[in-house]
């Protein structure tokens, strides 16, 4: 198993719920898509090109201020369970980790991490730089990222076109190559059935939503990733400002929905929340999906001050460590172990007892 302790914070400082609006917004992530001039894009590249791309990126990272000493993970040399671990930790995409059925990671697929900045190499684009922060923190996430991008851009030749901007494998990312996403918990809007309107509204203002793991993933536990849909024709600042403005509005709607729930339906809501907490505390076998849904209820309870003595950080940790690869790693099992639901229930009980008594 790979040693994630190489990363000072396990690559998860964003989990600590210290950021603005930490009880509603888990994390803010921004990524920039970049390609090297002179090499075919990843999907058309030969293996020798991909390994040349990786070498050049590693050399540039080592010579840069922001990425010198970054930890490198070669996805193409890792066991599936380790690749899944990195994916569950939101450090690599499903595509880079080669986790789709029958898929294998591409030769040269790698991840470089230093502090809040990560670089996926040989993903859909040669480089996918990302910056991640706890809570709702678009500006802070962009500061880290912009500096790393500028560093690498001075040492590598990026494919850039005066009209189309940064050139990307898929034209949906061309221009700035920037996709900013905010992982937000919206149980209030789901329970008041206002969520449909909000999500539909997003598409009309050029934003989109995805599930917990980004593109192609389902929405579970009332977690939504809100992000910009377009990348060309607006500056980086405009894209971030726009997303920020809309997310602030969504947070406001969520807070209003929670007020309404508490005012008009307190008994029903309190019952739902305590039942979720009770199940988490006493269940003897539980799937990850059910854990997510119950954690959503408990998180709402903490947000509404109905449950006390439980930190959002603990809930965030449970969200990560009850996932199959994390749980299996912690408890010395395999991800396919049929006893995993039992192991999960015991783990959740232990954590909740330790913190909440």
């Amino acid at each position: 198993m790979i040693d994630l302790s190489l990363l000072p914070d396990g690559g998860m400082s964003w989990l600590d719920a210290s950021g603005p609006k930490g009880s509603i917004v888990l994390s803010t992530r921004i990524r920039l898509a970049r390609n090297l001039r002179g090499y075919a894009f990843s999907q058309r590249a030969r293996d020798t090109d991909r390994s040349a791309v990786l070498t050049r990126v590693e050399e540039a990272a080592a010579a840069s201020d922001r990425l010198a000493g970054a930890v490198t993970f070669r996805l193409d040399q890792l066991e599936r369970s380790d690749r899944q671990l990195l994916h569950e930790r939101h450090l690599v995409s499903k595509e880079l980790a080669g986790l789709d059925r029958e898929a294998r990671p591409r030769p040269g697929a790698a991840l470089l991490v230093r502090g809040p900045v990560g670089v996926m190499v040989n993903e859909e684009d040669h480089l996918r730089l990302s910056g991640m922060r706890s809570g709702f923190a678009l500006e802070e996430a962009y500061v880290d990222l912009e500096a790393a991008d500028a560093d690498l851009g001075r040492l590598l030749s990026f494919a850039f076109h005066p009209q189309f901007g940064y050139l990307t494998s898929c034209p949906t990312n061309a221009g700035t190559g920037l996709r900013a996403s905010v992982l937000i918990h919206l149980p209030g809007l789901v329970l008041t059935k206002e969520i449909g309107k909000v999500l539909q509204g997003l598409s009309q203002v050029g934003l989109t939503f995805r599930g917990l793991y980004g593109e192609g993933s389902e929405v579970v536990g009332n977690f939504f990733q809100l992000s910009n849909q377009t990348t060309l024709g607006k500056s980086e600042e405009e894209l971030l400002d726009h997303l920020g403005k809309i997310v602030r509005q969504v947070i406001e709607y969520e807070e209003q929905a929670r007020e309404v729930l508490l005012r008009d339906h307190e008994a029903i809501i309190a019952d739902k929340i305590w039942r979720a907490f009770g199940t988490l505390k006493y269940a003897r076998s539980i799937s990850f999906e059910e854990t997510m849904n119950l954690l959503s209820g408990v998180r709402l309870g903490v947000g509404l001050n109905l449950i006390s003595g439980l930190s959002v950080y603990t809930l965030n940790k449970l969200l990560i460590f009850t996932q199959p690869a994390h749980l299996a790693g912690l408890e010395g099992r395999s991800t396919g172990d049929p006893e995993l639901p039992t192991v999960r229930a015991a783990y959740v009980r232990r954590i909740l007892e330790a913190e909440a008594g």
Partner: protein, 164 residues
């Protein structure tokens, strides 16, 4: 005008295709246009969410005219057909090779085909000299006019005006 295809409904779309050096213009109603794989503005407006999603990613490449399928990028060898099927371009030069087709697609995807964000200056490149840029643009304009690419020419003319 009635639709050339069904000859029943009012034509709302003029579809111009170039085949074997001759230009054919079809006047189509919304339904027949859709059947031919042309996305109509009317349909997009009717279902903002659905339309937007299909217009993104792979679905969007169905908007490219099949007549130009054989167009090939001289750098990586990818054809426009490859792009239509995979939704992914082969290399950076594909953007020049498929320029006019991509412009249209980018406008539909992003509402614009002009990058206005950060301008990248690579290692060793001096700040782009506006005089050299102007000369380059004028050269591109001459070639665009020669190739009768008037849409590109108009855009280049606008950019030259800004620089001058």
């Amino acid at each position: 005008m009635l639709c050339d295809s069904c000859k029943e409904r009012e034509a709302v779309i003029n579809l111009t295709q170039v085949e074997h050096d001759s230009k054919v213009t079809l006047h189509l109603c919304e339904q027949c246009a859709q059947a031919k794989g042309v996305e109509t503005g009317v349909a997009v407006l009717k279902s903002p969410l659905g339309g937007f999603i299909t217009a993104m990613g792979k679905g969007a490449t169905s908007l490219l005219p099949t007549a130009a399928d054989g167009l090939r990028c001289s750098s990586c060898g990818a054809t426009l057909k490859d792009f239509r099927e995979s939704g992914r371009l082969g290399c950076a030069q594909c953007y020049d090779a498929f320029d006019s087709h991509l412009r249209d697609l980018l406008r539909r995807l992003h509402g614009s085909s002009q990058h206005v964000g950060e301008r990248y200056v690579g290692p060793g490149e001096l700040e782009a000299d506006p005089r050299r840029q102007l000369l380059d643009l004028k050269d591109q304009l001459r070639r665009a006019v020669e190739n009768e690419n008037f849409e590109l020419a108009a855009e280049l003319r606008d950019r030259i005006r800004v620089l001058e």
